[in-house]
């Protein structure tokens, strides 16, 4: 079993990312979308939360990062996917948990 988790809130505005990381198991994927993409930038105050998590595949939805002007500031190790990649992720995992 592996889950795809989506996070759509800024980590500075809500504890959604924390709630997700508390329950995301090794081998799962966390896809950051909408305002959730801000967690993926390097040098921010929550960057360590992602850096210190092992075994989780972190992805960011490219169109949402581009819209917010942060595509050039993404932290290392975070994969950028497009809408088709989002669909592939949904197909590759057993279920999707959307953290709202």
């Amino acid at each position: 079993m592996s889950l795809l988790h989506t996070v759509n809130k800024s980590p500075f505005e809500s504890n959604t990312l924390d709630a997700c990381l508390n329950l995301a198991k090794s081998g799962s994927t966390v896809l950051l979308i909408e305002d959730g993409v801000y967690a993926a930038t390097s040098g921010n105050a929550v960057a360590d939360k992602i850096k210190n998590t092992s075994g989780i595949n972190f992805c960011v939805l490219g169109p949402d990062a581009q819209a917010r002007g942060i595509e050039g500031k993404l932290a290392e190790g975070i994969k950028v996917v497009d809408y088709e990649g989002f669909v592939d992720l949904v197909a590759e995992h057993d279920a999707v948990q959307a953290w709202l």
Partner: protein
């Protein structure tokens, strides 16, 4: 007598409608000849990032509108320093916003004022009207 109006912006753009609504109210309010200033706090600082490109999400990119604020005599834009730092950003990551001072032969001047939390608290304290987004 002109009142001091401050618009407080605390939300990132696109994820919610607050940022766009604030900008529209600022532009409408600019017609009323008041002493207007804007503050960007918390995720609000993300509204001013350079290089926004919304084509792929199907929403209007309203970020170029901020550069027109100077023409509406909105020339005081306060950015909270601590909020930028928490987000790993510097002023270089934000748009360079300017206005032209007609009293000094249209000299171009910076609109953005980078202030600490304590300084911003004092600026808030001077306002007559605060509008929060």
């Amino acid at each position: 007598m002109a009142k001091k109006f401050m618009y407080i912006n605390r939300k990132a753009p696109y994820g919610t409608i607050y940022a766009l609504e604030s900008l529209e109210v600022v532009l409408i309010g600019a017609a009323f000849d008041q002493d207007v200033s804007l503050a960007f706090i918390g995720d609000g600082v993300y509204q001013l990032t350079k290089g926004q490109d919304t084509k792929a999400i199907g929403q209007k990119n309203f970020s170029p509108v901020y550069s027109a604020l100077g023409d509406y005599e909105v020339t005081k834009i306060y950015i909270e320093k601590e909020s930028l730092e928490e987000r790993g950003l510097t002023l270089d990551d934000l748009q360079h916003l300017v206005w032209e001072d007609e009293d000094e032969d249209y000299a171009e001047k910076d609109s953005i004022r980078l202030v600490s939390r304590a300084e911003l608290a004092d600026v808030l304290d001077e306002q007559d009207v605060l509008l929060s987004f």
